[in-house]
C-alpha cells in the first residue's frame, strides 16, 4: 500500500505520458489456472465492449482440472482482440502479454509480437517457480527477452500492500486479488474505464464487503500504478467501432447454442428434450440448458452417448424436439442409433463440438476432423443434413435452423461446432424473437374421411417427408423400426426394388433441402484470382485474410460454407469463377475430398492440425503463394 500511496501523492509530478490511438489490439492475460485470468479477461472484454469496440476473445484452459501450481500444464490464458473496425478472430499475435508467473511466460511468449509489451509479475519469478517452469535462469534478468518491451512489475507485492490491511483478508484471499491489480494496470494501458468492473464486483460479492473493497482497491491501484509509474510511457486507445445499430451482448458459441435451442422450442411451441452425456468440450451445453428448464427445456443426463441419442429418439417419437450434444468419441458411439433415426425418419438434432482426434486425442483443443464421420460414419446409405455455424452468434441462428429442418424434413440433423467456436466470445447483436418466423409442426389426427383405411406412416408430402404422428393419437396406431420398410405402409419389406426406392427417397429428401438454403454468398469480387473456401469456424481467419489482401489490391474473395450437406446450389458456379480455390481446414482435407468429388474444379487444400485455429497471416501467405503461382503460369 505504501508504494501505491506514494505514487498517488506524487500525482503532480506524474511522469508525462503520451496517448496513442490504434486501430486494433490483441492482448493475452496468462497465469496459473488458479490466478483468475479468465475472469480478468472477461472483465476487460466487458469494458472494451462498453467502449464500443468490436471484440473477439478466446479463453485457453489447461487440459487438467487443477494441474500442479506453477507448472506449464497449469497455465490458463485469455486472449482479447479489440478493435475499432470489424474483426472476426481473436487475433494471431499479441501486442501485449501479461504473464503472472514463469510458466505463463514460457507457454505464451511465442505468440508475442517482436517489440510487443510484456508485463510480468516480478515477484512470482522465484527460483522455485522458475525451476517448475523449466527456466535455468531468470528471463526477466538474463536479457533473453530483449526483443520485447519488458515491464517487470511487483504485482504480488503491490497487491498485497493494497489489500492486506483490509479486515478479514486471509493470505489466500489476498493472493486471489492479484488478477484485479493486473486488470487495473492494463485497463490503464488501453484506456478502459473501471466502472463496469467495479459494478460487477459489487454485485458479485454483495454479502462480502471486505472482498468488494479488496478487489476494487487493487483494481484501482493497478490502474494508478499504470498512470504513475515510469516505465509505461504510452497509453493506447482504441476508438469505437462502427457497428450495426442495435442491442449487443457478448456470447460464446456454447451460450448461443443453448439460447438458440431455447428459442427453437419457443418458436415451435414445443418442449425440447436435451439428452446428453458429459464430454469435453460439449458438456457446457448441458450446463447451460439445465438452467433454462423454465423455458421448456427438459434435460436428461444419460448413462452414455448411446443412451443419450436413444433418449432423444424416444422423445422425438413422443413429439418433443430431441437434441443431443457431444464430441468426437461420443459421436462415434452414436453412429448406430443415428442410422435408426435416419431410417425411422424422426426429427432430432445432434450437436457435435469437434475436438482434436483421433480417439481421445487432445480433448480440449479444436479440430474440424469429424466432418467425414458425420457425413459417412454409419452403416448403409444414411444421408443427413450437416450444418456448420461460422461464429458464436451463428450458433444461435443455425441451431434454430437445425430444429426447423429436422421437423420439416423428418430427419436427424447434425450441427458441427468445435472447441474453438464453443469457447470463443464475440459481441453479438441480440435478435428480437418477434422477428423470427415460427417453426411449423403438423401432427396429423385421424380425419373423418380416412374412415377405416389403414394409416400409412410412410406416405410422403411435397418435401418427401412422412407424417409426424404422435403416440396417443387415436386411430393412427403404427409401428416403426430399423428394418427396411415398405414405401407407403411402413411395413417391414425385403422387396429389392422397394429397398432401392427407399434408399433413393431418403437421399432425395435430404438433397431436396437445397431449395430452402440461402444462396452461397461471396465476400469480395464474384470472380477473380483466388477464392478462399472455408467452413465453420475457419470463417474468421479466412475472411480477415481475404479482406486484408483485397485491401492491398489483390484479387481475392472468400466464401464460407454453413451448409455442408446439401451444398448450396450455386456453389459449383462460384467455384468455377476463380482461377484458384484455397480450402483451409483444421483437418487433413475433409471438405476438400467432398469438393473434389462433387465438382470438377481442383482446389488447393490447406491444412492445420495443431489443435489451434488458423492465423490470419498463415492464410494470407497461402493466398499470396497461389497468386504468385498464377502469375507464373
Amino acid at each position: 500500500m505504501e508504494e501505491v500511496q506514494k505514487l498517488k501523492k506524487e500525482d503532480k509530478n506524474r511522469p508525462r505520458k503520451s496517448k496513442q490511438t490504434v486501430e486494433r489490439v490483441v492482448i493475452r492475460l496468462a497465469g496459473d489456472s488458479g490466478d483468475g485470468m479468465q475472469l480478468a479477461g472477461l472483465k476487460f472484454t466487458s469494458a472494451s465492449v462498453m467502449l464500443g469496440n468490436d471484440v473477439s476473445t478466446f479463453p485457453d484452459y489447461p487440459a487438467e482440472i487443477r494441474a500442479p501450481q506453477g507448472t506449464l500444464a497449469g497455465v490458463s490464458g485469455f486472449q482479447i482482440h479489440f478493435s475499432s473496425t470489424e474483426i472476426y478472430t481473436p487475433g494471431d499475435r499479441l501486442d501485449t502479454l501479461v504473464a503472472m508467473n514463469p510458466a505463463a511466460l514460457k507457454v505464451n511468449i511465442v505468440d508475442l509480437k517482436p517489440n510487443g509489451i510484456l508485463i510480468c509479475d516480478k515477484d512470482s519469478f522465484t527460483p522455485r517457480t522458475l525451476a517448475k517452469a523449466g527456466y535455468a535462469s531468470n528471463p526477466l534478468e538474463d536479457n533473453s527477452l530483449h526483443n520485447y518491451r519488458l515491464f517487470s512489475v511487483n504485482i504480488t507485492k503491490l497487491n498485497k500492500e493494497t489489500v492486506s490491511k483490509i479486515k478479514g483478508m486471509t493470505g489466500k484471499q489476498i493472493n486471489l486479488t492479484r488478477n484485479f491489480f493486473a486488470l487495473g494496470l492494463i485497463s490503464w494501458l488501453y484506456d478502459r474505464p473501471l466502472h463496469t468492473t467495479i459494478k460487477w464486483i459489487k454485485s458479485k460479492f454483495k454479502n462480502r464487503p471486505n472482498i468488494v473493497e479488496a478487489n476494487t482497491n487493487t483494481l484501482k491501484a493497478g490502474y494508478y500504478f499504470g498512470e504513475t509509474n515510469e516505465f509505461l510511457a504510452i497509453q493506447y486507445s482504441v476508438p469505437k467501432a462502427t457497428m450495426e445499430p442495435g442491442l449487443y451482448r457478448y456470447i460464446s458459441g456454447t451460450q448461443a447454442l443453448a439460447l438458440g435451442l431455447a428459442t427453437a422450442a419457443h418458436l415451435a411451441k414445443k418442449e425440447l428434450f436435451f439428452g446428453a452425456y458429459p464430454i469435453t468440450p460439449a458438456s457446457d451445453i448441458l450446463h447451460e440448458l439445465v438452467r433454462l428448464r423454465g423455458y421448456g427445456i427438459k434435460t436428461f443426463q444419460a448413462e452414455d452417448e448411446i443412451a443419450a441419442i436413444g433418449s432423444i429418439i424416444g422423445a422425438a417419437f413422443g413429439g418433443s424436439i430431441g437434441v443431443t450434444g457431444t464430441s468426437g468419441p461420443g459421436l462415434a458411439l452414436m453412429s448406430e442409433a443415428l442410422g435408426l433415426a435416419v431410417i425411422t425418419e424422426l426429427p432430432i438434432v445432434l450437436i457435435n463440438v469437434q475436438r482434436a482426434g483421433p480417439s481421445t486425442g487432445m480433448p480440449t483443443k479444436p479440430e474440424q476432423s469429424d466432418l467425414l464421420q458425420v457425413l459417412f460414419g454409419r452403416n448403409g446409405e444414411s444421408p443427413l443434413p450437416v450444418l456448420a455455424p461460422q461464429s458464436p452468434g451463428d450458433c444461435f441462428d443455425l441451431s434454430i435452423e437445425a430444429v426447423r429442418m429436422a421437423i420439416k424434413y423428418m430427419t436427424p440433423v447434425v450441427l458441427l461446432s468445435d472447441a474453438y467456436l464453443a469457447n470463443n466470445i464475440d459481441p453479438w447483436k441480440i435478435p428480437n424473437l418477434d422477428n423470427k418466423s415460427p417453426i411449423e409442426v403438423f401432427h396429423p389426427k385421424k380425419s373423418v374421411e380416412s374412415g377405416n383405411d389403414r394409416f400409412t406412416p410412410y406416405t410422403r408430402n411435397e418435401h418427401l417427408s412422412r407424417p409426424y404422428v404422435l403416440p396417443g393419437t387415436k386411430g393412427l396406431e403404427h409401428r416403426i423400426g430399423g428394418l427396411e420398410k415398405e414405401k407407403i405402409t411402413g411395413d417391414v419389406s425385403y422387396d429389392p426394388l422397394n429397398h432401392e426406392e427407399m434408399v433413393n427417397l431418403r437421399e432425395q429428401k435430404i438433397a431436396g433441402i437445397v431449395k430452402d438454403l440461402p444462396l452461397q454468398e461471396i465476400n469480395g469480387p464474384t470472380e477473380g484470382d483466388v477464392l478462399v473456401l472455408s467452413w465453420g469456424s475457419t470463417h474468421g481467419a479466412a475472411h480477415t485474410a481475404s479482406e486484408n489482401l483485397r485491401k492491398e489490391g489483390l484479387s481475392v474473395a472468400n466464401t464460407n460454407l454453413r451448409f455442408i450437406n446439401p451444398l448450396p446450389s450455386n456453389l459449383g458456379d462460384i467455384l468455377g469463377s476463380f482461377t484458384r480455390i484455397l480450402l483451409p481446414e483444421m483437418n487433413k482435407g475433409q471438405l476438400h475430398l467432398i469438393i473434389q468429388a462433387r465438382y470438377s474444379v481442383r482446389a488447393k487444400s490447406m491444412t492445420k492440425v495443431q489443435g489451434k485455429p488458423f492465423h490470419v497471416d498463415e492464410i494470407e501467405k497461402e493466398i499470396r503463394k497461389l497468386i504468385a503461382g498464377i502469375n507464373h503460369d
Binding site: H266, I313, S320, G482
Partner: protein, 344 residues
C-alpha cells in the same frame, strides 16, 4: 404434449382383438413367444388405458419383433437400446403407457447397461424380458443366461460363461418391481403383467420362454405337468412359501439361507414357514428368493418385490414445474443477457 381429445375412449369396449395388428406373425411354429403375445393381448384391454396410449418399444431379437404384432404405437429399435428410447419417450410423454420388450441377449448382453440405468432411475416403464437362454434370431448362440456347459453354435464343446441371474441382477440395479412368470402359465402371467402395468415405477418381469428351435425344453422342469410341482412355487404376498403336489413342502429361513422341509411330515405349522413380503423396503428378502434356483431349490415365481418410490419421470416433471414457476423474465430477456449495450 398430451392429446386430451383422445383419452376419452371408454376402455371397457376394448378386447384382445382390438390389439391385433393384422401382421403375419413370423415366429417359428411352437415358439413360446406366441403365448406371451396372447396373454399380453388379454391384459392390455383391461387396464383402463386407451389403446392409443400404449407404446411398445423393443430392441432386436425374435422377442423384439413383438411390437409388430400389437396394434398399438410401437418401435422396433436397435439391439439393446430399447430402454434408452423408452426412457426418453416416457420422460417426454408421461401420459403414455410405455412397455419395453427385450430378450436375454438384447436386454442382458448388449443392453445390460441401459436396462440397469432405466431400472436404477425408476423410470415408469414396463420391461418384459423374454428369457429363452439363447440367441434365437441369430440362430442359436449362448446368451448371458445360458446354463454353463451348454453346447450351442458358438460353444460346440459347452459354454464356459457363468450365467447371470436376471432377478438378482435387477435387484442389484435397485428395481422397485420385480417378477417372474412362465410362458405356459397363462393365468399367472396375466396376473403378473397386470400388476406390472399397475406398478408406478419401473417394472421388471422375467418371462421364461421356450425357444423350440435352439433351446427346446430349457424350462421343462418348470412346465412339465409332473415336474412343476416340485420345482416351482408361487410367491404370494403375506403368505407362507410352500410347494409340492400337496403343498407339503415349505421354505424355512436358516440364518440367511433357505431350507426346504416337508413341513407337514416334520410336524411344522404353516406359520413357521417363511412368509412372503413383496413390500419389504429392503431388497434382501427378494435377493434371498432370487438365489433359489433349480435343481437345488424350487424356483419362486410371481412378484419378488413391489415397493413405492417416486418415479424418475415424476421427479423430472416436478423439477420442470419448479423451474417454470421460478421464471421471472420472458425468454427475450434471457437472450438479452445480464450485460448488454446499445450501438446507435
Amino acid at each position: 404434449m398430451t392429446n386430451e381429445e383422445n383419452t376419452l375412449t371408454p376402455s371397457s369396449v376394448l378386447s384382445p382383438k382390438d390389439f391385433d395388428s393384422g401382421f403375419d406373425v413370423r415366429w417359428c411354429p411352437g415358439c413360446g413367444d406366441y403365448a406371451i403375445l396372447a396373454n399380453l393381448k388379454r391384459v392390455l384391454p383391461t387396464l383402463g388405458i386407451p389403446k392409443e396410449k400404449f407404446v411398445v418399444v423393443s430392441g432386436i431379437g425374435c422377442s423384439s419383433r413383438f411390437p409388430y404384432y400389437l396394434d398399438t404405437y410401437g418401435m422396433h429399435t436397435i439391439h439393446g437400446r430399447a430402454p434408452t428410447i423408452a426412457t426418453g419417450l416416457k420422460c417426454s410423454r408421461p401420459d403414455l403407457s410405455v412397455w419395453v420388450v427385450t430378450g436375454d441377449g438384447d436386454g442382458l448382453s448388449i443392453g445390460g447397461n441401459h436396462l440397469m440405468h432405466a431400472i436404477r432411475r425408476n423410470v415408469d416403464i414396463k420391461i418384459l424380458l423374454f428369457n429363452n437362454q439363447i440367441y434365437g434370431l441369430t440362430k442359436g448362440q449362448y446368451s448371458p443366461t445360458t446354463k454353463q456347459s451348454k453346447r450351442t453354435k458358438s460353444s460346440p464343446t459347452g459354454s464356459i460363461d457363468y450365467p447371470v441371474n436376471p432377478i438378482s441382477w435387477a435387484l442389484g440395479a435397485e428395481a422397485t418391481f420385480i417378477a417372474r412368470t412362465i410362458f405356459q402359465y397363462p393365468d399367472h402371467m396375466q396376473q403378473v403383467l397386470r400388476r406390472a402395468a399397475e406398478h408406478r415405477g419401473v417394472s421388471f418381469v422375467e418371462i421364461y420362454q421356450n425357444c423350440v428351435i435352439f433351446n427346446d425344453g430349457a424350462f421343462r422342469y418348470a412346465t412339465d405337468k409332473e415336474m412343476r410341482y416340485d420345482n416351482i412355487f408361487e410367491l404370494e404376498h403375506g403368505n407362507p412359501m410352500k410347494f409340492g403336489r400337496d403343498q407339503e413342502k415349505g421354505i424355512f429361513l436358516h440364518g440367511l439361507t433357505p431350507k426346504v422341509i416337508n413341513y407337514k411330515q416334520a410336524g411344522f405349522d404353516e406359520t413357521d414357514l417363511l412368509h412372503h413380503d413383496e413390500n419389504a423396503q429392503e431388497s434382501t428378502l427378494a435377493f434371498f428368493l432370487s438365489r433359489m434356483r433349480y435343481p437345488e431349490f424350487p424356483e419362486p415365481i410371481g412378484i419378488f418385490r413391489a415397493i413405492q418410490k417416486p418415479t424418475y419421470n415424476d421427479l423430472l416433471d416436478n423439477q420442470m414445474e419448479e423451474a417454470k414457476q421460478a421464471v421471472t423474465k420472458p425468454l427475450q430477456e434471457i437472450i438479452n443477457g445480464e450485460e448488454n449495450w446499445t450501438v446507435t
